[in-house]
Symmetry: D2
């Protein structure tokens, strides 16, 4: 963990305390419309219960900050130290991931008590009279860990949404997470934006970053073009109607085997609702629908296609005579877009994460932190692909150009979509 | 379903209504100490959530009685007709069993509303002015189905306990279902009771029975002996300490492969607690414990060994130079015991179900009922073994000599134990 | 092993030696038309390579007879003691069953040298001057083991055929084991033969038997009827055309899950050949064919349906308003048939093994032999069903009324078919 | 397929014909010491039988050259067109890969007849009077395909060795492929060779290449160092003895799960031979041995460690405070080594393939060929890692700096080892 914490250093402690309270309460807010039962269930091995997310993020502060900085530290509950350890082998035993949904005890209420207790004790550490009595090295360490803990909690805020959506998708009642009506999408024209060949510099530009965004370094990119917007549901439907899921030549060999083994025919949350099947559950019976936070909605052709795996994104790109961008291409283009007066690339942030063709790997010169926090990122750098940007469920203030999200090529339940790329200076 | 309903026929309707209310409220009573979260989770494919048991038993009355006998029937919720169908292919679609734990909606409260609504409507049917206006054939049919529904609910009352116990056993906190202290066991001496060879008659003796207990028929049994009591934890421990789980010659070939593949070394709920591992979860650190409805308790050597699979029961019996009884031997002995003044066989009912060596198969002349209710029993008559007696979680009034319980040879989470048998007239 | 060897005792040693040579050379004869490659491959875990059968049967004589009775015994090759041990845990290590097809070394020729060496040494033991110098107890033991070894080899002779047929069925070239033309079947009328209720005696009647046929004992059978002949391909086709593989009400619950998971639609070796798919492999293109020892042949409607699993046999019987016989019913009927002047039951032996409804279980009073030979039968007595009779590939002299063959309910590659039964004295 | 064929163009046809004959006969030579049984078996899904390799490489010439260029083409056997198609979806049906070991027919002799027939017909096409009568575009196409077919056959020559070695490793007899004694290794000192940061150009330099080596393009590499030689068995043993397979912090998270699930403790072909277990199979009983083409040999501490997966290579590198090189680093260093007078990097070719940290991905501007040959490489560009160099079983003339071999991160049976890298200009 190489968090840069300069920005925070300049803040007065009152702001630290407010920021802590704000991030923490946002997790609670996201769980507000959910029942105790909703918060307890786990719909697949890759997902976790909302209650577990609420507890694990709390465990992070307890384990990495309170235990180190609190006078006369005592665990809120020794059992929680094992139950809510996610994957840090360096921190001791952990409860097996696939069974997180079986933890009906501790109850959601007990987890909330755990959150309140840790919040209270964290605020004591962040109080000026405590903080400024610490030796400066200690204080810096605390603030670095604090920022990491908050960023970590924000990551889990996104996962709470992806995981509860998956849970609801397994329920024939298809409950809506929110009663707010979905936003209407507009029809954006697609432009191709060209970028010259050359050496570009990527990686963290300063401020907080995760260790995987470091070190900042140079890469050579050949000339390329990026699509000005994301691929839409309507375009993806055209791919499907052109036999997209039935044509092996469009797929990676491994992806094709997977598509056949799973008999995939459409994105995870798409449903072709028919009169006969929809009736028992009260759905309208007229063609393609998409399940989302608003429940089951008629497919919006202008909305960006989402909840797409890398294999699907890659196949779509091949069908469209294009390809996925590399992460250097994406980051350089995002930088250029910010610099230019005319912002030619849209939907970089806040709609869907964008799959890249880049395998998740350490940057040249990468070194993981010592100890358990070194397990944060580096050990996942195999057989996963990088996604860039951010999504509609990424919390405010958690997006940046150098951010490297990553998932395996078969992950279908994230808010992940497609921005196309092309090599060379082709004319449109 | 060949339920004999004579006993009920003679009752006045007030008793019918009381019996219905009594059985139904007993299900609720068993769920009382559980949280909404406890009632929602499913710990393995073979188990179901408590909430699902509460709903499915209600679905049974709605589907097989209300839909047929109620004027102007309407489903409480059309979706429930699919969600809470267990395995009746003849009744339409059903929700996939392994995912029952994902049904966080409908909530436990909604299920309770469902129960109340169906209870209310059932009581209307059972009211004298309704019941006695029905043609007698209809009335008989209703009463037969009523009794079947109640017996069905009692079966699920037992499963609620076995399933919630399994769920709790997966939780490192090992919560206790009840705060009542466990009963102390006494040291019963073991006698062998001899029975002569001859033709015996087994099967339902009249009164209610499931279809699998019919027809009453003859079997020839060679001379045999039965143990007067069940195998104890202490005896089973001796088997383990004598290498029981490491000696292939004691096991069926298939059982041995299973023991090795699963690395089994003791019954499902036994734990050898050590200082090092028990600490985080607050357990005493002194040897063999058994997890049960009272939480984790020190092994009671005089208590009957329970939660044993058929493979384990069979291996234990071989180790003890004995064998499991056939179901005819068990039923004949139970009958003889009832007849005799000195009741030589104890623990026939109310402690543990007792594995037999009999594969679950139709009795000669067995015919399944027509329609969906014909799916009740017959279709499970392959690759399962019969258990006889009843257990400590079998509801009152749900035991009888001819009762045939059945589970696969690897089922480990039932209240199932061992009564030994021997062939011939050996002296003890 | 409780082999009765009286018959052999009376023979002069010359006959013993001849019988040994005759059984042993019959194994070789069955492999004659096969290439080294054919003899080496293993098509599934449940099958073994022909070469392995040839070696394992030899290992049996080497391990259980030569090692005990030969002066100055030395193993032909110490490695073979492990490689060709099948499942006798009591005899030491064994090579994992699923990988038998990887034993390209030792070569078929080396196995044949192994056979010749063991044959030569066995003949030395069977020479009169050796045999009659043995103490009589030793001589009896040797002759008992000899007979068991020969019966064991005959069992493997049948398996050689079932296993090579399965191997060939996996090859798109669908090679024929034999160039002989298949026999024409005749249209046999079906009669129902009635049998009265009563106590019958079953089990070995004397002469050689496997231990599982003992002890001879009594069973009560209620009145029943058996079909005079086996179910034909034509009848089975009618079941299929009536939706046999698509109607859950015809199947055991477990069988139905299996049929769906495997997408079964017909017996293992049936193929509905179409012009489009058959061409590349030179098949005629006209409907249902059956693959067998004669290669792919047009379905013969009068031939007995074969290579049927228990689940399929049971479903067919239910469709036909009948059931499978119990093994006591089958054996008693076979006995009655032999006694009567008019032999009303045909196809008892030599066509297909006949599935019974009886789970494979020990007879009352059964005891396994001491030591490794006790592993012969008893340890397989769980979750399998008994088949009675014998098949067209059972060697001459290996059939008897009390013979108990057994396979799991999903085994599809044996020469196993269906004889129907009914309860009661129904008129036809 | 973008094969550059200039070199061949300048040759006279006599050389073409000789080269064809030479490559083809080398395949036969590699199979010479193997029996028909050895050539037929398939030891795992990822491997193929030697016979299949011999047939498939022949199928390639028949399908892509003879069918297109031969007058009056007829297939040698229509069935072979399906049986020996590997993965070209564009060419029609194919026989399922996991069952290649079941093809005992056609026999090895028939496959050899197939080879001879296709060889004869290919030589007719390569005869000057045929070749020079073709329009030049046709001739170029033929020569391009010819070269591709030969390079393809050379790839399979390497796989024949890796696959037969795996087969032999599954046999407790552990047969040696060759009777030649293994070469003695010498103790090479390890140097770190430094390379400056800058833009490098990688990819095919002209002459034949596979499509995945194109287009030649620029990459930026930061300063780095490479080890002068490969990691040795002795060094790898030190890693093991330091707990290499027991320390999660050394492994990728996914690799650690795999190591635990498979209980890995050493490289695939390493065996710690003990007196007790080795005896039956005649092995000496003294510590670590390595199975290879020479059979089971005592571990040679100076020899390069081989048959290592990417996960193991990556964990070893982390343990050694180093990392794996990127493919650009490797290729640039190989180029520099060739240019320099003092060849500081040794073992680039002919010992073991060297794992890189680079995921197998298309070069910028990569385009796959049209039609079935476009399936050659591109569709495998997901979740695999690039290996560079060549191995001791790579055929002569099949190595080049730009060559990109690739396997999944769990592949353990290839001749694949480790060359370490470091970032920056560290002093040694």
């Amino acid at each position: 963990m190489n968090a840069k914490t300069e920005a925070i250093h300049l803040l007065d402690p009152g702001l630290l305390s407010k920021r802590f309270a704000s991030v923490r309460s946002h997790s609670q807010a996201r769980a507000e419309s959910l029942s105790e039962e909703d918060c307890c269930a786990q719909s697949m091995e890759d997902a976790s219960p909302v209650k577990w997310h609420l507890a694990h993020t709390t465990w992070f502060f307890e384990t990495f900050i309170l235990e180190r900085f609190e006078h006369a530290f005592h665990a809120f509950d020794p059992a929680f130290r094992v139950l809510f350890n996610s994957y840090y082998n360096g921190v001791g035993d952990k409860y097996a991931r696939p069974f997180r949904g079986l933890l009906t005890r501790p109850s959601l209420r007990e987890i909330q008590a755990y959150r309140h207790d840790v919040d209270r004790r964290m605020q004591q550490l962040l109080a000026p009279d405590y903080l400024f009595r610490l030796p400066s090295e200690q204080r810096e360490a605390l603030m670095t860990l604090l920022e990491l803990g908050l960023q970590h909690e924000q990551q889990h805020q996104e996962l709470m949404m992806t995981d509860v959506l998956h849970l609801f998708s397994c329920n024939p009642l298809q409950p809506a997470y929110t009663r707010m009506p979905p936003q209407r999408s507009v029809d954006l024209e697609l432009h191709w934006q060209a970028f010259d060949a050359g050496v570009v510099t990527i990686g963290s530009e300063g401020g907080f970053s995760f260790d995987n965004e470091l070190p900042r370094h140079r890469q050579f990119v050949e000339a390329y073009q990026l699509a000005s917007r994301l691929v839409t549901n309507g375009e993806y439907l055209a791919f499907m109607e052109d036999g997209g899921y039935r044509r092996p030549e469009l797929w990676m060999s491994e992806g094709w085997s997977w598509v056949q083994a799973q008999a995939l025919q459409h994105p995870l949350y798409w449903q072709d609702v028919h009169a006969s099947t929809g009736k028992a559950f009260g759905h309208e019976a007229d063609g393609w629908h998409v399940f989302g936070l608003h429940g089951l909605q008629k497919l919006d052709p202008n909305a960006a296609v989402s909840q797409i795996s890398w294999f699907e994104a890659d196949a779509y790109a091949r069908w469209a005579n294009a390809r996925l961008p590399t992460e250097a291409e994406w980051e350089h283009a995002a930088y250029q877009t910010m610099q230019s007066d005319e912002s030619v690339l849209t939907q970089l942030f806040g709609v869907c994460w964008q799959w890249t063709s880049s395998s998740y790997a350490p940057y040249p010169g990468f070194t993981a932190a010592a100890g358990a926090l070194g397990e944060y990122n580096g050990k996942f750098m195999s057989n996963q692909y990088v996604l860039r940007g951010s999504s509609c469920v990424t919390p405010d203030g958690h997006s940046r150009r150098s951010y490297r999200n990553f998932f395996p090529s078969t992950a279908r339940w994230q808010f992940a979509g497609i921005r196309l790329a092309r090599s060379g200076h082709w004319s449109v």
